[in-house]
């Protein structure tokens, strides 16, 4: 009996040690892999449409909320890899204005999760401190419930002085709404007597978009096999490398990221040179 118990404990100890060893080896390989990738052109700005959380949840027979939680964890891991690689800005599509059409229960769940994760991101995530990440929430915040809006404002205030890297989170966002609000802003800044039309230029619209002074994305990634922009960064992604990945977002691994970077590096000589405001 006692022998059986010792055997049982030894088995679990060995299993845990093996798992830790494998995780350390994986971490070493990830670091080496990122060092190799960084020998070539590295994108300064990556935009991601994190699609596939609900399909992953239904495939794994878990509830949708858990699917979104796994999506958040995947975001943190991917962000960590991107920042280690040398990417300066990551822009993610968390919630579209069109997503408000979902059932009220699902929208309410998502809002609660957004509020929770925004607070967690800024107060507890190590990588925000290690990489000096400025968190910016882009979108029409007036459409959000008070709790989420306040979390968003707290997140932006807490990381306002971080200048090394940027995480843009698009919430209550669509690109067409963003372009119209930019034109509205330019119109409002002029007085009644000044003719509006002379002040509207491509550069002025660029400056007044939510992404503001960020350089345009070098890569646009969409997971889950869909090949649409779904009203995301239409103006900014005009010259970006389009990468469509079949993996669902919670399955997006370091290998998928590496493959995306390798394809970008192969396409780099053929991509238009984008104008880069200094960052």
């Amino acid at each position: 009996m006692a022998m059986g118990k010792h055997f049982y404990y030894a088995y679990f100890l060995i299993k845990r040690l093996l798992a830790q060893l494998l995780a350390s080896i994986a971490a070493v390989f990830t670091r080496l892999g990122l060092k190799v990738l960084a020998s070539g052109p590295v994108p300064a700005h990556i935009a991601i449409i994190m699609d596939g959380n609900r399909r992953f949840a239904s495939r794994s027979r878990i509830d949708k909320r858990s699917g979104h939680v796994l999506g958040y964890e995947r975001l943190i891991q991917t962000l960590d890899s991107c920042l280690k690689l040398g990417v300066k800005i990551v822009t993610v599509y968390a919630f579209s204005i069109e997503n408000f059409q979902r059932s009220p229960a699902e929208v309410s769940d998502l809002m609660e999760l957004l509020q929770d994760k925004l607070d967690h991101l800024v107060s507890k995530e190590q990588l925000v401190r290690s990489y000096d990440v400025q968190v910016r929430i882009l979108g029409d915040l007036s459409l959000l419930p008070k709790g989420v809006r306040e979390s968003a404002e707290r997140a932006m205030l807490a990381t306002n002085n971080n200048k090394s890297t940027v995480l843009n989170v698009c919430i209550a966002y669509t690109s067409t709404h963003e372009i119209v609000q930019a034109i509205q802003k330019i119109m409002d800044e002029r007085t009644q007597d000044q003719p509006h039309d002379k002040f509207i230029t491509k550069e002025e619209i660029d400056r007044n978009l939510y992404t503001g002074l960020c350089p345009p994305p070098d890569i646009l990634l969409r997971t889950s096999g869909e090949t649409r922009l779904s009203n995301y960064l239409l103006w900014q992604c005009s010259n970006s490398y389009m990468c469509f990945c079949n993996a669902l977002w919670p399955e997006f691994s370091f290998w998928h990221l590496s493959w995306m970077i390798l394809k970008y590096q192969r396409a780099y000589p053929f991509l238009p040179r984008q104008q880069r405001p200094s960052f």
Binding site: E98, T174, H196, D197, K202, R228, N231, L234, A267, P272
Partner: protein, 274 residues
């Protein structure tokens, strides 16, 4: 020392990828050359008829984005592609390249199309000239100056067979992209200032784009031909929900690969945010 090894590994990985893509390119080129033989013309017809027979969801409006190389050397293949698109029932094609080579070669495209297909009266090439909201007449076969919206998807109204309808080919370049949105925004703000309207909406900008003569249909499908999967500043306002498929070089386009693109398109589903 570490970075030397990393650079070596990087070059090795890319060299391996170059070898793989090189053999893949040879295979695609050989396939394309085979399909170019007159012997295979019936096979092309059979492919197109098969996809029509399967009653899959096919696009009604298509956009084609060409990079500079493809726009310079691929006009013959573009004409073949337009013919295939017409066969499968597409009503409107937006043909785009950044430098406007398609626009300046409009007559070449028209002549090549009528030489190769003998059915020029069913395809109407046009491009925007800035402020006019009317079509530019390029032939006098009954398509007089009329509003854009009346000409979309004539098949739906008449119920004629897919290849009997008129297909519009819109030639676009860089000035029809962001610059067009800027022109529409200026027009919108001037009218808003005159009518003392304070708040603008997406519908207002849409309307203004049509008024300024830069509007057009949102493509169901956008195909990129070139060395990189990039939009090259294709008019951004129109591609909110467009399926974007990257093909590669126009030289490798064959009837089976074209049908394969349409098959990929037919499998896509839209959730519209829900």
């Amino acid at each position: 020392m570490g970075s030397l090894w990393a650079a070596f590994c990087w070059r090795l990985i890319h060299a391996c990828l170059d070898v793989v893509y090189f053999f893949s390119a040879i295979r695609l080129r050989l396939l394309a050359l085979c399909w170019a033989f007159p012997f295979f013309v019936q096979g092309e017809e059979a492919c197109i008829q098969q996809i029509l027979g399967e009653r899959k969801r096919l696009p009604k409006t298509v956009a084609i984005v060409l990079d500079s190389e493809e726009a310079r050397h691929g006009k013959d293949k573009v004409v073949v592609l337009l013919w295939w698109l017409k066969k499968v029932g597409v009503c409107h094609v937006s043909l785009y390249d950044m430098e406007g080579l398609m626009k300046t070669s409009q007559h070449v495209l028209e002549d090549n199309y009528s030489l190769s297909t003998n059915k020029a009266e069913r395809v109407h090439f046009y491009h925007h000239k800035g402020r006019s909201k009317e079509l530019i007449e390029t032939d006098d076969k009954g398509l007089s100056k009329t509003n854009m919206s009346n000409l979309f998807c004539v098949t739906d109204k008449t119920g004629e067979a897919p290849d009997k309808h008129i297909m519009l080919v819109e030639l676009l370049s860089l000035e029809d992209g962001k610059e067009a949105i800027v022109r529409a925004a200026r027009h919108l703000c001037t009218s808003a200032q005159k009518m003392r309207v304070e708040s603008l909406s997406e519908a207002d900008l849409n309307e203004s784009m049509i008024e300024s003569g830069v509007g057009g249909p949102d493509p169901d499908l956008l195909i990129i031909f070139g060395a990189a999967s990039c939009l090259f500043e294709f008019p951004p306002w129109r591609i909110r929900l467009t399926e974007i498929l990257y093909f590669g070089s126009l030289k490798n386009l064959t009837a089976p690969s074209f049908v394969s693109l349409l098959n990929d398109f037919s499998k896509k589903t839209h959730r519209y945010g829900k």
